[in-house]
């Protein structure tokens, strides 16, 4: 996608309909990443971009996996929308969060614009369990 720094690699997600429906590839822009590395804090303006990506079809096994030379598993397939968070400690203060959470569709094409999602939909869970400033630092090797 052009954001060269990959903060997180990929996550498999199970919505109980498929064994492994999606990859979640998370990116942070290099400038904010450099600041985070130096200060340990995400500066206002930090953007994290979560790219949603289906796995390659057709499935060969009940859990959705396929056999390939590397073994049995999942290859990246079609893109499937995106979630984006932006840090702004003032702008989102009325929502009780330092970040704004947006969804640009859970399908392609990605939406050209998006509205702020309510706290109950995204921020609540991030605040409850994400280890660093609503970011799931515990899952991102490059943020530790």
């Amino acid at each position: 996608m052009g954001l060269r720094r990959v903060a997180v690699d990929s996550d498999g997600l199970n919505d109980n309909k498929e064994g492994f429906p999606e990859y979640h590839n998370v990116y942070i822009e290099p400038g904010s990443y450099e600041i985070y590395k130096k200060t340990g804090e995400f500066p206002d303006g930090t953007i994290m971009f979560k790219e949603l990506q289906r796995v390659l079809k057709p499935q060969q096994f009940p859990d959705g996996s396929r056999s390939e030379p590397s073994g049995r598993g999942y290859s990246p397939g079609e893109f499937n929308g995106a979630d984006v968070t932006v840090k702004d400690s003032k702008r989102y203060a009325q929502t009780g969060s330092t970040w704004g959470y947006y969804n640009f569709n859970h399908h392609e094409p990605k939406a050209p614009t998006a509205k702020l999602r309510p706290k109950s939909e995204c921020a609540f869970c991030h605040q409850a369990s994400a280890k660093k400033d609503e970011v799931w630092k515990q899952f991102y090797r490059l943020l530790e």
Partner: protein
């Protein structure tokens, strides 16, 4: 990083409206030229005069994420390994332009052990511990005759040992990466499945 500047200014001025459109337009208006300006002017060498290969230490900064291959869990849902593959932006651009990888193209694959757990969004397997790396460099002229470039590629596998700080990739690489000699053998054959975990060893993609 034109794309970053554009995204950042949008975010600060008018929110992230048109964010996706900005991304899309950047892809077609010469972004590859911008990408080449930083990381590819003087790419880090990964192969020495004798054809010995090492994993580039700067790939997280200078390479672009190509995609991930997940090895399925032996039992239950999720995956037990994530294989993340990276290449330099200029080599990806040339592949799109000419339909082939130029000589000197480097592909890096990092192999992560996963941790799988239920979360609000479902059961998630996330990268937990790096286990090692594969690297391969395009060498269609077989310019290192003592090494065997199979299918036009030289390859190496680096297996991480121990449980030290997996986040410090550079330090690990200094400790683990040694010159690799491609093992002699036939030029054709099956692709080896998976990564060799039992010992530090060297091999190519194909043999």
């Amino acid at each position: 990083m034109k794309i970053v500047a554009r995204v950042a200014s949008l975010a600060s001025l008018v929110g992230i409206a048109a964010f996706a459109l900005a991304l899309r337009s950047s892809v077609v208006d010469g972004e590859s030229d911008v990408r080449m300006s930083r990381a590819d002017e003087k790419p880090e060498a990964v192969v020495d005069a004798q054809g010995n290969l090492r994993v580039p230490s700067s790939y997280h900064a200078d390479y672009e994420f190509l995609g991930t291959w997940a090895i399925a869990a032996d039992k239950g849902v999720g995956s037990k390994e994530l294989h993340n593959v990276y290449a330099r932006p200029s080599t990806i651009a040339e592949y799109h332009t000419r339909g082939r990888f130029p000589d000197g193209t480097v592909l890096v694959k990092e192999v992560y052990e996963t941790s799988t757990a239920p979360m609000t969004t479902g059961t998630v397997s996330h990268a937990q511990t790096v286990k090692g790396w594969f690297a391969m460099v395009k060498d269609s002229n077989n310019s290192h005759p003592r090494q065997l470039a199979v299918g036009g590629w030289l390859g190496v596998v680096v297996v991480r040992r121990g449980k030290s700080d997996e986040n410090n990739v550079n330090r690990l690489q200094k400790r683990l990466v040694s010159p690799a000699t491609y093992p002699p053998g036939p030029r054709t054959g099956s692709i080896r499945p998976g990564i060799q975990r039992s010992s530090r060893r060297r091999e190519g993609w194909h043999r």
